[in-house]
């Protein structure tokens, strides 16, 4: 075993794991917030996420076509992508709730779940249709932003691209804003009140439906932002690329304790790290017997183990059952 190599790649793997983890965390928030309020798993959230990625790529391709991409400073472009994707994904998520979930609110629990799966398929094929008509292609590549690809060589084995830093900083900033919103504002307190007891919340004068719309809006916006970061980081997207990250983010939400906002963040990061370390180290540690393609099996085995010992997730009990 090549110990110096194992140690040498550690910082790089850690960084990759964090990027992936923050992405999962951002997506996981959408699942967990909606679950917290409605005890319902929004299976269409993976498509809300990928719609954000498509909004981003469309703006980039548009700017490129107009010849403006080079002349605009990249932070401005990135900000524009994030704001636009958050708006579109957030509004879309709220619209989906209004049309496909709210009419089923008092139906048996499986019914809205089926509706969510239907919305998921519908959105996938809608994106495919729109892009096919509009661009004659639905596998799209994010145009590169030159400033973002600049790399710093920190050590021989660790080089950090501006892109990676930007993804981490943007994700952290959004998680922080969400945290402040939910815990320090009146409207955020109302979201927590509705999550706990809808009838009691309505009795103090909270319009429960509006808070539910807001929850979808915020969760969707976080998903849309994650979509842009996903596109910027990994480049290639298609209408179906939301599925796997969505599934993993959902797992991350369960891992952290579904319904629990800090839990989604922790769960996302843990899952990202597990995956990155498995991808890089499995092959090295097993002499090639298990390659990087086993990363998901490894990561999910660990998840299952964690859930066996902590069925409510990593933070599930601490926050939820304190009462």
């Amino acid at each position: 075993m090549d110990l110096p190599l194992l140690i040498g790649i550690f910082p790089q793997v850690l960084l990759d794991g964090l990027i992936l983890g923050f992405m999962y965390a951002l997506i996981a928030l959408g699942y967990t917030m909606v679950y917290g309020v409605l005890e319902f798993i929004n299976f269409a959230h993976s498509e809300i996420f990928i719609v954000g990625a498509f909004v981003g790529v469309e703006i980039l391709l548009g700017l490129k076509g107009a010849g403006w991409l080079e002349s605009l400073p990249w932070p401005l472009v990135l900000l524009l992508l994030l704001v636009a994707a958050m708006a579109v994904s957030g509004l879309l998520a709220a619209a989906v709730e209004r049309v496909a979930y709210r009419p089923l609110r008092s139906a048996p629990r499986l019914i809205p779940l089926i509706s969510a799966i239907g919305v998921s398929f519908f959105l996938q094929d809608l994106i495919r249709l729109v892009e096919s008509v509009w661009r004659n292609a639905f596998n799209l590549v994010y145009p590169t932003l030159d400033g973002l690809n600049h790399r710093f060589e920190l050590t021989e084995t660790l080089d950090v691209s501006v892109k990676s830093l930007v993804v981490i900083v943007a994700a952290l900033a959004m998680l922080w804003v969400l945290h402040m919103l939910v815990n320090r504002t009146k409207i955020g307190t109302a979201v927590r009140a509705v999550a706990e007891d809808q009838a009691a919340a309505s009795l103090v004068g909270i319009d429960v439906n509006r808070i539910i719309s807001l929850t979808f809006l915020i969760g969707g916006a976080m998903g849309g932002a994650a979509g842009v970061l996903f596109g910027v980081q990994y480049g290639l997207i298609n209408p179906y690329s939301g599925f796997i990250p969505g599934l993993k983010a959902f797992t991350a939400a369960v891992l952290g304790g579904i319904g629990n906002i800090p839990g989604a963040m922790v769960g996302g990061i843990v899952l990202g790290l597990l995956e990155a370390f498995a991808a890089s180290y499995l092959g090295l540690l097993t002499g090639g017997a298990f390659g990087a393609e086993y990363k998901d099996i490894f990561a999910f085995s660990v998840l299952i183990l964690i859930l066996v010992f902590r069925p409510k997730g990593l933070l599930g009990e601490i926050v939820r059952e304190r009462a």
Binding site: A199, S202, L203, V204, G205, I206
Partner: protein, 233 residues
């Protein structure tokens, strides 16, 4: 101020209210008594909009409340302290009280907070505590305090004495009496008929979804049927 007429409510096939009529005048405490399952909570829930009325009218100062959603009824000035308190267990005492004032935009909120703390000094001591960790008595204080933060015209109380030790029951009733003396109109649902009639001006007895008796508190307390059924004689 509050007038309920010929109110009928059904849960599916179960007819919970079969023509309830009652009236609460400004500044009064009106007690609504009755045994388990009589429909007391259902009456309050229908007034506050949680349960839809099948038939009948509910008016607050002449304005109909039928079909108005609960949050809008709260905005019109009805605060409902539900059965079992239903405070927000995961929020702090302060957050619970602030949620009580959620729809308010007027500048009187801080003043009302002081008033609630004057009534319940215990809540002020525990302002940063998570509500779920409060004792039962403190939770009931918080539930009432949260309702008062709405600065309501009418306060609906559903069994505020439930699950409290006798000393605390006396305290809670004394506080309700206090609140009323400061001008609050109250519709009080209680199992503890003796205590309720002790502070009420008028009362109703509900039996399986209909009003069986109505009168002043003294009349009801002196009624032989009431004494036998609800005062344990």
């Amino acid at each position: 101020m509050l007038r309920v007429e010929a109110l009928e409510v059904a849960y599916g096939a179960i007819r919970a209210l079969k023509g309830v009529a009652l009236e609460v005048g400004r500044g009064q405490i009106v007690a609504l008594l009755g045994s388990n399952g009589a429909g007391k909570s259902t009456t309050l829930k229908t007034i506050s909009g949680l349960v839809p009325a099948a038939r009948g009218t509910i008016t607050l100062d002449g304005e109909s409340l039928v079909g108005v959603p609960p949050h809008a009824i709260a905005l019109r000035g009805i605060a409902h302290v539900p059965e079992g308190r239903r405070i927000f267990n995961r929020l702090t005492v302060r957050e619970n009280l602030m949620m009580g004032a959620y729809p308010r935009r007027d500048p009187g909120v801080a003043e009302d907070l002081d008033r609630v703390f004057a009534l319940f000094p215990r809540l002020e001591e525990r302002i940063t505590q998570v509500a779920g960790t409060l004792s039962g008595g403190e939770q009931q204080m918080l539930a009432i305090g949260r309702a008062l933060m709405l600065h309501p015209r009418l306060l609906l109380l559903d069994e505020p004495s439930m699950g409290l030790a006798p000393v605390l029951v006396e305290q809670i009733f004394a506080t309700i009496d206090d609140i009323n003396r400061q001008g609050m109109t109250i519709l009080l649902v209680e199992q503890n008929a003796a205590m309720a009639l002790g502070i009420a001006h008028r009362g109703y007895v509900l039996e399986t979804g209909t009003i069986a008796l109505a009168g002043t508190a003294e009349e009801l307390a002196g009624n032989a049927d009431v004494r036998r059924a609800y005062l344990g004689e």
